[in-house]
Amino acid sequence: MKHLSIKLWSIISISLVMIIISCIFGFLFIHGYEGISYEFFIKEPNGMPLGSEGGVYNAIIGSICFTGIATIFSFVFALSIATYLVFYEKNEKIKSFIRFIIGIIAGVPSIVLGLFGYSFLVVYLKIGISILTGGIVLGIMIFPFMEIRFEKTLLEVDINLIYASLSMGVNRTYTFFKIILPICYKDMIRATCLSASFAMGATAPILLTGAVYYADIPNSIFSPAMALPLHLYLLISEGISLKNAYATALVLIVLLLLINSIPTVLDMIGGNKIVRFIKRRKS
């Protein structure tokens, strides 16, 4: 009797979850497909009220810009801090302090980060609402996630490889670039793409720091831009156009899926010599 209930419980819950997922995706794809045409991708939002006609070209470009800046910003810092923590810093107290701070930032809700970005970057530093500020706030948001992933992959590198390399008299920098990075880079790309997709879907941090209701295609990093999530939010909350809202949501989801498929595609194209060598030795 007990056993049957466990079986029932798990089967019912997994089927409910699958139903929910297929509902969401089915609904989006069926309704979104009607609104999508070639024009939707290459036209600017038009009509009165704005967004009821035309496409989402500006928003797509804006979203890509935000995500790009956020990813670059956070990648540089996350990679350097992860490397420093794993290979260079020996003081345990400093290490745990840095990890503690990263943990705090990971716990800050994204809207509070947006508030910080608005008041510090936009108002105090007077950068203004721009791609740069929005990108930085998004970068701060995805930074802890990226750093923790990077640290994990770096820690998984076989320490004997590093010892062997160092005892051959190879210097640390060369070891890092030629031994450690080739082993880790796939996991790193995977983590980067995952965080990039988080950044692209986030609305709260760019609500007042970077994204605006309508803007032309940005010509520098100091100009504001449109973003897909905010555009979608405005289309729904102002009740402008349900058809375009479906299509925008579908475009957003497809973009995220594309970003997430980058590592798989890279995997298929070809591996690295060293990685293949090590894998062959292991097997």
């Binding site: 809207i111 210097n171 997430n260």
Partner: protein, 308 residues
């Protein structure tokens, strides 16, 4: 790596020195960038603290947290965020109550009841759920859940705490499933052969071995789900109705992130309103921290049976 140097001892030493300099430079570069980022992070924390503590010069901490009434721009500003705090807690705990049984059940199914091939098919689909942006969730919630409440159950307004909780439950499901699943897989790998050798049936093993041992993993997923749910802004904001009332299951409410997101644009910098928004953000962070510490101690108190 220096190679093929035939021109004698001296030349080789020079090369080694160049490499040493590169080494040093790289170390300094990395140390510099890391220091900048740590300083930036510390600065963010200090900035948020500083801006929010200014609120408590005007209102006492007790009034801010335990009083009702939110009129930040009137002559005598009233600042009490108790309804928002309660709504935030209500929504996320209810969402967890909906999501946890589903999540644990699904992870039992994923870890113990399917073969490798089907698992590799189902798991990515569930992970895909975590990648859907919150705005899209809010959109679906508005169109499916709220509309369902209004049409089928003839509510006057479908935007309610319950709608927000159901939506939030769907949003935190993938996190709960992946955390529980991870710990269950670990346990299974450790004990499966022993259990099979003893002739214990599969469901007996699930009931008496895996579920009790996975307690810690489940607890971790609870913490993760709660913190995700409490910090969630857009999706909840779109379906909860946004009015600062005490939460009722079918009534409207407002969460702290929603409050900040809605009023952030209207608050002029350095006004009491602006500081109060920062302070409510700080309260939210404090709530998250308290929950984390609480669960940390519960975890410590729970027996010594570990999953590792």
């Amino acid at each position: 790596m220096p190679e093929g140097s035939t021109s004698g001892f001296l030349r080789r030493r020079e090369k080694v020195n160049i490499y040493k300099i590169i080494d040093k430079l790289f170390l300094y570069l990395i140390r510099f960038v890391s220091m900048i980022s740590v300083l930036l992070l510390v600065f963010i924390v200090i900035f948020i603290l500083k801006e929010s503590l200014l609120t408590f010069e005007e209102v006492s901490f007790y009034d801010f947290v335990f009083k009702k009434g939110w009129r930040p721009i009137s002559e005598n500003p009233e600042l009490g965020i108790l309804p928002m705090i309660l709504s935030t807690l209500y929504v996320s705990i209810l969402a967890l109550g909906i999501a946890l049984p589903l999540g644990v059940g699904s992870s039992i199914f994923l870890s113990c009841m399917v073969n490798e091939k089907n698992r590799n098919f189902i798991k990515p689909i569930i992970d895909l759920m975590a990648g859907i942006p919150s705005v899209v969730y809010g959109f679906m919630g508005l169109l499916l859940i709220v509309k369902f409440f209004e049409r089928k159950l003839s509510f006057s307004s479908g935007e309610s705490i319950l709608a927000a909780s159901i939506l939030l439950a769907i949003m935190i499901l993938p996190y709960i499933i992946s955390t529980c699943d991870e710990s269950m897989i670990k346990i299974l790998k450790k004990y499966e052969s022993t259990s099979k050798a003893l002739g214990v049936s599969k469901y007996h093993m699930i009931r008496y071995l895996i579920l009790p041992t996975a307690k810690k993993g489940i607890l971790a997923s609870v913490v993760l789900g709660l913190s995700r749910g409490m910090g969630e802004t857009m999706a909840v904001m779109m379906v909860i109705g946004n009015s600062p009332l005490y939460p009722k299951l079918f009534g409207k409410g407002q969460t702290i992130p929603g409050l900040i997101a809605l009023e952030m644009g209207g608050a002029s910098v350095n006004s009491i309103h602006y500081h109060a928004l920062f302070a409510s953000g700080l309260i939210l962070m404090m709530m998250l921290m308290i929950i984390n510490v609480l669960f940390y101690f519960i975890r410590k108190m729970m027996g010594t049976v570990s999953e590792e």
